[in-house]
């Protein structure tokens, strides 16, 4: 964090790391699947070009020089043209191409998470640990790769993507499920395979015919979201039932949490706005935190591991932010903001382009929020399921004494990680919601070097 431009530094290192990872994976794949390896490298190359050009564009904008048009054109032709050419070639597989394309993004995300957790990238851990860590990692890879080939857990990944039911194509005949109407049950069955059974599943198995239990089982996400909401209300009620000037333990803890959250959000929004907007920011934080934490209790499930709930939360944030945008700017000002504030002929000529771009940008922010929350919580859950499944498999293979203690240790470690993720993701969701609100709200203090684009950004 000491570097003056952390963004660029992270980007450089993430790109380097992603190249290393791509080359390593391609080398592993090359003997058996040469075209897959090639596709992976091509995807990585496309993403790499993407980033290189992106950085150039960002530099152009932040250092305020003209001539970005040609660069954007070159980028579009090179990246998307290359992509089209690759796809029309026919030999290229989509899955490795997408994986290669995702690698730098994943590296960037991991890097920033590591910076958040340890204040340094993963490379620093290796530097500290000397080559021994590297050797251990390669050994672990070598040991685990043949086991992966046997794939002891067919339920976790194999069938998930293939038979996913979409509401649109219910009419397409699929031999795997005879009744196309049983979408919900089918979806639940797939989901149940990739998750630890919660008490609703157990209840359903115990009494499958009961309509109430069936309803509860089909709407697990809602049920667990409600449970979390009531839990949150109940805890707050217990803590604040008879609030005293000298608080008890629980009241103290809750007040501390609320106050620090208010400090964090208030540092961004300012004294004037925080009074009005803290209720929703605080509610988002504590609600997501409760939901996430609920997943750690065995027999419970984090409702945020479903995209439905995170999208709903993002929708609430989106509507709230847009509502305050309209309320502060007025309906004309809001439309003007969406149109990119056209003031001259060029501005009006660009209107058909700028309007969708602004609308898409406004949409992308909440969706990215929800995808991040969903991805993190779902990933953590899946990780624990995989390790619990592996432990069960080892028990079945009567390797209990040898293998279970390390497995249990690893699972416990991941559970601790899950606690950390829960807090961090709740914090990040509410903080970014605050940032989006901040972009919409009017504020007086502007930097001296305020450019045209920045005027859009902060209004």
């Amino acid at each position: 964090m000491q570097t003056p431009r952390p963004g660029r530094d992270i980007l450089d290192r993430a790109l380097r790391a992603s190249w290393l990872a791509a080359i390593f994976i391609a080398l592993v794949l090359a003997p058996s699947h040469p075209y897959d390896a090639l596709s992976l490298l091509a995807g990585q190359l496309i993403a790499f070009l993407h980033f290189i050009f992106l950085r150039k564009i960002v530099k152009l904008f932040t250092e305020k020089r003209g001539g970005a048009g040609a660069l954007i054109a070159i980028k579009l032709v090179l990246v998307y043209g290359g992509l089209m050419a690759l796809m029309s070639w026919g030999r290229v597989q989509y899955a490795p191409l997408c994986a290669g394309f995702a690698l730098p993004f994943a590296a960037l995300f991991l890097k920033s998470m590591m910076m958040l957790a340890f204040g340094a990238g993963p490379a620093s851990l290796m530097r500290r640990g000397k080559p021994a860590v590297l050797v251990a990692m390669f050994l672990a890879l070598a040991v685990t790769s043949p086991a992966r080939a046997a794939d002891p857990l067919p339920s976790t990944s194999g069938t998930h993507g293939a038979t996913e039911t979409r509401p649109g194509d219910a009419a397409t005949p699929d031999p795997s499920h005879p009744q196309p109407g049983a979408n919900a049950a089918e979806a639940h069955h797939e989901e149940g395979a990739a998750e630890l059974p919660n008490w609703l599943v157990i209840l359903h198995d115990w009494n499958p015919g009961n309509p109430v239990i069936n309803w509860l089982d089909e709407n697990q996400v809602i049920v667990f979201a409600w449970i979390a909401g009531f839990l949150f209300l109940f805890i707050s009620w217990i803590a604040m039932r008879n609030a005293k000037m000298v608080p008890g333990v629980l009241q103290n803890a809750i007040e501390w949490m609320v106050e620090s959250m208010e400090n964090i959000a208030g540092g961004l929004l300012g004294e004037k706005h925080i009074q009005r907007h803290f209720p929703i920011i605080g509610a988002l934080f504590f609600y997501i935190l409760t939901i996430n934490m609920l997943g750690i209790i065995p027999g419970m499930k984090s409702a945020t591991s479903s995209l439905d709930l995170t999208l709903a939360l993002a929708l609430i944030t989106f509507l709230y932010v847009q509502f305050w945008g309209i309320r502060n700017l007025g309906i004309v000002g809001y439309l003007d903001h969406l149109a990119g504030s056209p003031r001259d002929a060029i501005g009006w000529a660009m209107l058909p382009v700028m309007l969708p771009v602004h609308v898409l940008g406004e949409l992308a922010k909440p969706v990215s929020l929800s995808c991040r929350l969903f991805g993190n919580i779902f990933g953590e859950d899946t990780l624990i399921v995989v390790f619990v499944g592996a432990t069960a498999m080892l028990i079945k293979a009567s390797l209990v004494a040898l293998a279970v203690p390390p497995m249990a240790g690893i699972t416990a470690l991941f559970m601790m990680l899950q606690t950390l993720t829960s807090i961090v993701q709740a914090l990040i969701f509410s903080l970014l919601a605050t940032v989006y609100l901040y972009m919409m709200l009017p504020h007086e203090e502007h930097g001296p070097d305020e450019s045209h684009a920045e005027a859009h950004a902060t209004h």
Binding site: A106, L108, S112, G267, I274, K365, V367, S368, C371, V435
Partner: protein, 75 residues
């Protein structure tokens, strides 16, 4: 109360902002594509998806520039 915002928090905010860049970059064109495909089906056209894909990409870049600027100011 709000005066003593710890320095650590700015770091968290910065990392939160920066780590949302990959999501926005990847999702903005996808959202554009989805909207474009829906409009294509609705209006029975064939080209809207690619237009909205490119616009989505532009929107992603715009948001990224905003985010980079926002993360570099006031810390």
């Amino acid at each position: 109360m709000t005066g003593k915002t710890p320095k650590k928090v700015t770091g968290w905010r910065q990392v939160g902002l920066l780590s949302s860049i990959p999501f926005i970059l990847a999702l903005a064109p996808l959202i554009g594509l989805a909207i474009g495909m829906y409009l294509d089906r609705h209006f029975r056209t064939k080209f809207l998806w690619i237009v909205l894909l490119v616009l989505g990409f532009v929107a992603g870049v715009r948001e990224t520039i905003k985010i980079v600027k926002l993360s570099q100011q006031e810390d």
